[in-house]
Symmetry: C2
Subunit: 472 residues, 2 copies
């Protein structure tokens, strides 16, 4: 329960109906897209503008009350679960596009706008905002910035980070900072813009963002390539890049995913394939034609068993369905779906998939793997049941070993989902003790009283490293 004087202040700042502490509001904001995590906040507040956010932060800071800012909460790392109570700040009312600047190719938006709504508006102006996290129909730009969301176009176009060029943010003490601007270049001091992107609400509350827009590609072509040999598929990925082709999309599904997707979406996929690659290229029509032709040749060279190039946009959509329905299809198998985010250099994808399969067998858990092959960003996904504690324990052990394996292959514990609560105990594995100390120092510089999304990124204890059993 918050102090009564504080709640009175908060109500005065946002207006009676935009501060809530009724059970419905508290329960609705006690969890996010991550399975098996829940923690009740003390209050939920809905600010309308930056001034209100600043006033709220001043009030909360005076009472040392933690705050978790959030959009739609689609993250998969427990990033917006209020584990230490306090106030959840919901940014949905701040959802305006302040400006689209056609001369500078920038857009300035509030954080609460839904990413897909923004992207569609930008498209209607003949421009393109490339980041396309799978959650984009529900997630907000602010949430995407907080987590540095990726998506299917990351290989060619980069991720959210590459499109944020200016920010307005409110610090823990209620002060407002502005970083960057409508500037393609700015080296005035440390790059606070890029530091805030991906900082998961632990350094400041983002209240406005200036985003870079790009010209849209003139055409696009989509293909599927299916392989009986996992290494053939992996070599295809590497070889496409080695041939100096950077496709817009280069996605991977393993056999377990193929089976589930086919059963779900009735796509008539061949169930004996070890891997399917979904490949898209965009750009000028001639370039696209030539690249797709060269990719087809590479697939044939690597003994793809079937190659389908979509001739129409409808056919392309059908091919895309295979990949897009992976999560939904897996989610209906068992009560609980845990989707992870291990990432390796793209040359190590096949090794990583084999390690994941070995680890799944070792712990007798069911893990299907799909993801962004071009980025080396894999989503090993466990289908399990949260009520079965013994099985969940095995799933957790398996994921620990998967993180360890990713790191030992030169990779990382998270490519696009963030650290949050779920991966905090493993962060030191990736960045080391000295790296953790530096990050702690940065956190203290922004938020000395640990009020901004406490408990995230930094774990009380680093998990002990498991001993990797190399299998074989």
């Amino acid at each position: 329960m918050l102090d009564a004087t504080l709640t009175l202040q908060l109500r005065q700042i946002v207006g009676e109906k935009f501060y809530r502490d009724d059970p419905e509001a508290l329960v609705a904001h006690s969890y996010d897209g991550t399975p098996m995590l829940q923690s009740l906040p003390d209050g939920v507040i809905y600010p309308e503008n930056t001034r209100q956010v600043a006033d709220i932060m001043k009030a909360l800071a005076a009472y040392r009350v933690p705050v978790v800012s959030r959009g739609s909460g689609t993250n998969l790392c427990g990033g917006t679960v209020p584990v230490q109570g306090g106030v959840v700040m919901v940014m949905h009312r701040m959802n305006r596009i302040m400006e689209v600047d056609l001369e500078n190719l920038t857009a300035t938006v509030q954080p609460g706008i839904i990413t897909a709504d923004f992207a569609v508006h930008i498209e209607s102006l003949g421009l393109f905002y490339p980041p396309d996290p799978s959650s984009m129909k529900i997630s907000t730009i602010g949430g995407n910035i907080a987590e540095c969301s990726g998506g299917l176009r990351g290989l060619k176009y980069g991720t959210t980070k590459d499109y944020v060029i200016g920010l307005e943010a409110v610090l823990a003490n209620g002060e407002i900072i502005r970083t960057g601007g409508k500037l393609m270049k700015d080296v005035a001091g440390y790059d606070l813009t890029k530091l805030l992107v991906g900082s998961e609400g632990t350094l400041a509350i983002i209240t406005e963002a200036t985003l870079k827009l790009v010209p849209p590609p003139a055409s696009k072509k989509t293909m599927l390539a299916m392989f009986k040999d996992l290494y053939g598929a992996a070599r295809t990925v590497s070889r496409i890049i080695e041939m100096r082709i950077i496709p817009a999309t280069l996605e991977f599904m393993d056999n377990a995913t193929i089976r589930v997707v086919d059963d779900f979406a009735k796509l008539d996929l061949p169930l004996d394939m070890k891997a399917i690659l979904l490949i898209e290229q965009d750009g000028d029509p001639d370039t696209v034609e030539r690249d797709i032709e060269r990719i087809r040749e590479i697939c044939e060279l690597e003994r793809a068993d079937r190659i389908v190039v979509a001739e129409t946009r409808e056919q392309a959509e059908r091919l895309l369905t295979a990949r897009r329905s992976a999560f939904t299809a897996l989610a209906r198998l068992r009560p609980t779906t845990i989707l992870e985010d291990a990432t390796v250099p793209r040359s190590r994808i096949a090794d990583m998939v084999l390690r994941i399969n070995e680890i799944a067998r070792k712990y007798k858990v069911s893990i299907a793997t799909f993801g962004h092959a071009g980025d080396g960003n894999l989503h090993p996904t466990a289908t399990t049941d949260a009520r079965d504690h013994e099985e969940i324990h095995r799933v957790e052990q398996a994921f620990e070993e998967i993180f360890e394996a990713a790191i030992s292959l030169g990779g990382t514990i998270t490519g696009e989902h963030g650290v949050g609560l779920v991966k905090a105990p493993f962060l030191e594995w990736k960045i080391g003790t000295a790296g953790m100390e530096v990050m702690h120092g940065i956190k203290r510089a922004f938020d000395p009283h640990n009020l901004l999304n406490p408990g995230k990124i930094f774990a009380k204890e680093t998990r002990k490293r498991v001993v990797i059993d190399r299998g074989h």
Copy 2:
């Protein structure tokens, strides 16, 4: 003078001949590419590997001796002048390409390699490292990373920041951290990689970098467009981008620059032009042809007086000479050349050039302006004489007003040269008091005893803001 025990230790770490404190070595490392700045260090050290850098830092930290790490010192912000004495650490011996990974399209290098040597080697492998600061034949990759160097290809390809995906660095206490990796995506905690890029040697000493490489463009085309109307040239810049064309290069020279360049390089440029744009497009031949044709139409629409499209690579080189020789041509006019780096949203270029000209007239100083129009990154360049203190004072006043004007147009005090010593008093104008506090906090987190390049980025005092006389 350093403590004798310390110098003994330093000599033991690197070997007798790689620690020097003879006058020649001290004087040679008392200045950099920035005019009018000099300060003697106490010693100069040349480490051979990361282990030595770590040991040096441990020794220096124990004695609280400052250190300025540097490559070739081509920076223009006083970034490597050892203003508080101490040790200058020269990274030239650490100049190896550790690996070029053709599967992952990455290169891992030591910081002391000359940027052009690296770029040429990468080209010989059929790949492309786009950042091309004008200093690249002399400057090092480590220096480029420290300053987040830009170049002529920034508009389409971005700057150094966009190509650094992993770092090894030694902290002030001698500990070694590793950030990122051969990973296209990594959101494991705060983005230390991007934070270190552009941190000007004030946070850590970079000992190894993993760089992203891209496929090279298949072809390239170069043109000059000359305008009697400054706004016509500026509108051309905006309109090219509005037409969804992102040229590889889009450079600008004002009338003062044109006159000097023509006199220097005998290019037969028309001296009555208010502006010349140098435009290059690269990519697939068809796309390049089409883009250049569309750009030519835009130039005609905006009443360009002369348009020259190079038909051969030799002709293109000749056109490029005009822009490339700007600094050299200006530098021979008077004893001292001060090249600045104000940056505005690209839609404000004409306004900014006019403001620069007004300010130059007001202070009776000679300023020519050229730069990266596509990025809004202008280099107003004063030709003056350091021995004339009264004139230098007027030049300084003029630049203060130029920085102020850039900020008031939504711009920044530095687009690609860094803050260093020269722009430190103006940084607060751009990022505000709260922003300065956050940056101070970050600095303390990395370097609590202020040993790494002290005196840079953070000034003892912020310059008082000048009152802008709007002219007219």
